[in-house]
Amino acid sequence: MASHATTEHTLAPGEIAKPNTGWIWKTFFVLVGITAVEFVFVFLMHPSTLRNSIFIVLTILKAFFIVGEFMHLKHETKGLIWTILIPMSLLVWLLVALVTEGSFIGEVLQNMFK
């Protein structure tokens, strides 16, 4: 497993390495920043497909930072990365398919007696 902490000198027995937390706080500020941008869009834009698309793109961006950095997936082997990503990408297909289906059912129900 690749590690963020690269200790240059060998530690004496009982000695504790210095914390290496810069990347953690950097990721935190990126996540807070993206959430803040989402709130700007909630209040400055009228609801539309474009606004929803922006939200979904920003959400996936946040997921990338949480899974990649915090869950360390970015630094795992390629095999593990694909094991997680391929099943998840199939779920996106399911989501798109059922949302389309929902719109169609709604249209049929709302126009049934017209």
Binding site: T21, F43, H46, F55, A63, L80, G106
Partner: protein
Amino acid sequence: MAQSTTLQSPTAPATHDAPRTGTWDGGNEPFKASYGKLMMWFFLLSDAFTFAAFLTTYGMIRHKHEVFTGEAKDFVFSTRWWPIPDHVFNAFPGMGEANVPLGFVALMTMILILSSVTMVLAVEAGQRMDKADVQKWLLWTILFGSTFLLSQAWEWSHFIHGHTEGTVMADGTVFHGANLAMNQYGPVLFADLFFFITGFHGTHVFSGVCLLVWCFIATTNGTFEKRGHYEMIEKIGLYWHFVDLVWVFVFTFFYLV
């Protein structure tokens, strides 16, 4: 179970067979991840299927319902159309009837992201075998996790009791709040999905807090110190980040879109 000769220490006499190190001889780690971490990843993948099923159901049912097409300021709650989230979730603890659209949920999101940060800090401290730091960051994570749970309890309570004005129902009576069969905000399924999705997520947070408390006790007792590694913190950490990740999606699909 009988000890296999391949498990003897390297200092054993040279007359013994050399340890077997082939692909199928055991001791190998697929994907260079330990057994525990790999299994946690697979569990989380299966858990992601469950949450994806919930959110897909939400998307399908929401698209089945009519959309309110007028100006946002003219919006009124009705079972005819799906509610606009910032009209439903606009209360803040201690501010009475003040209109704070999505204010409280923004705070909850921040608390959960912060708890994820303190969790990585605990994992990082564990990799350095720094017991005091692990304890400190675990306590912060438990604090933020519990705060999130309490916030959710408040959010549920407010959702159940409803806004003061309520909504006039078909029979002329005014209905406040929500239950599984009726609600003032919109179609029945809106409240049902709220209870099920945020409830299922909240249950995950609660399990996470329990696991973290156990980790804190084990750290304090020196269990991981004696074991020589803090991998358990990393595994629980994976679970905790997953719970944060799910909230990011719930936040987008329930509160923003």
